[in-house]
Symmetry: C2
Subunit: 260 residues, 2 copies
Amino acid sequence: MNKKITIIKVGGNIIDDDAKLNAFLSSFAKLKGHKILVHGGGKLATKMAADLAIPRQMVDGRRITDADTLRIVTMVYAGLINKQIVAKLNAHQCRSIGICGADANSIRAHKRKHATIDFGLVGDVDSVDTAALLSLLENELTIVMAPITQDENGQLLNTNADTIAQEIAKALAASATVDLVYSFEKKGVLQDVHDENSVIATMVHTLYEKLKAEQAIFAGMIPKLDNAFEAIRAGVNRVIIGDATALDALIEGKSGTVIC
Amino acid sequence: MNKKITIIKVGGNIIDDDAKLNAFLSSFAKLKGHKILVHGGGKLATKMAADLAIPRQMVDGRRITDADTLRIVTMVYAGLINKQIVAKLNAHQCRSIGICGADANSIRAHKRKHATIDFGLVGDVDSVDTAALLSLLENELTIVMAPITQDENGQLLNTNADTIAQEIAKALAASATVDLVYSFEKKGVLQDVHDENSVIATMVHTLYEKLKAEQAIFAGMIPKLDNAFEAIRAGVNRVIIGDATALDALIEGKSGTVIC
C-alpha cells in the first residue's frame, strides 16, 4: 500500500493553448512517481466537426453524440491530441503510453440511460480494470488517457474526462495512495467569483455546503466539487483543483484548492 | 527462446471493407499465443483530407506528408481505426491495447533523408524497443499498432505500415520465434499475375530472383518480397503473404505464399 499515484486531469482550455500546454507538459514530465494524465479535447473536435459540416445535435440544450460526432472525438481525442501529448512527454524523457478506456479493456462503460433524453453514444463508467493500469505504471510508463470508452459489444463511447479521472482515482485508491488533480485555467475554487485571488486553500464539506447554499460557488464548479467529495469518500487521499500552469505548486499544496 | 509471436499486417483494402475487416478480426481474435496486429489506414485518410479540402502534396509523383496531412493520418490511423479495431477485438474476448510507435517510445524513427526529395513528415525506423512490446505481450495483451512514429524531439512521423511490421518482426526475432504475415486482398504471390489461382506456395530466394528477372512478378509485390527476404535473413522464422479473409489457413501454411 506504499504505492503513490498522481492522477491529473488537464482541462480543454489548456489543450487549446500551445504555449500553456507545453508549459504544463514540461512540469508534468518532471513529477516524480507513478502518474496518469487524463485529457479532454478542447475546441479542436468542435472545429473539426464544423470543418466537416457535421451538424451539432442538441436535445433540450444538451449536446448529443451521434455516430459522426463519435468518429470525430475518437480521432481528435484518442488520435491527434493523445499522440501529440505522448510524443512531447517522451521528448521530455517521460516515457508515456497513450491509451483510451477501450485499450486493455481498462475502462468498461455502457451507453447512458436517461428517462427522457437519448444522449447518443455517450458512455457512463461501470468499472476500471486497475490491474491493467497498474501493470503499465509498474513498467515505468506514464499513462496518457483519452476520454473514450467502450461497451461490452465493442461500441466506442464518448465519456466525460473529469468522470474518467475520478473513476480511475477511486478504483486505484484501493491499492495505492492516490492524489487527484483537476488542473485548468483557473487558480482554484474562489470565495468570490469576481476575484481570481480569493482562492479557498482548503475546502471541507461543511464549507462547501455553506457556500453552495449562499450561491457563492460558480455553477460550473459544482459538478467538479461533487465529484471531488465523492472521490474523497471513496478513499482518494487528496483532490486538488487549480492552475495547470502552476503544477508544482499545486502538487505541493502551495496553490489551488485542496479538498479533504 | 520458446516464446512464439505472430505479427500480422492487415492491408488497407481490408480496413476499407467492413465485412472483410470484421471477418478478419473474428479470425485474428481466435489465434493462439502472443500477437501483434499492424494496420494501415486505407482510403479513409485520403477521404478525410479531401473533405477538409487539404490539397494532396505531390513531388516527382510521390506523395508528401505535410503538417496538415500528418494531423489527418494521426487522427485516422492512431485514433479512429486503431480504437475501432481494439474495441472489436475486446468484444471478441481478445484483450487488446492500441498504440502507435510513439507510445512507450516503442519505435524510434527519424525524418526521412533523401538526396533530392523532401518527403515531409515521413519517418524511417531507427530502432524498436522490444522490451516495451514484450512487457505488453507478457501481460496477455494483444498489441494493435498504428503506423505513426516519433523522432527524439517529439515530432510525430507518418511511417509505412509494412515497414513497421517488418522492423518489429526483425527486432523481436532476437528473443522469440516470430512469424510475420502480410495479409491483404490477394491470395498470395502469383506465378501468373492474370491467374488468381496461380499462388506460389513456397518462395525461395533463387525462385524470386528468376521470377524478377522474367518480370513475372507484379511490381507492387517487389518491395513486400524484398522486405520479406530481409526479415528472413534477420532471423524471422517465416514470412507469409496471402488472403486476410483466410487467416487460419494462412497461419497453418495451407494458403498463401510462405517465404523462407
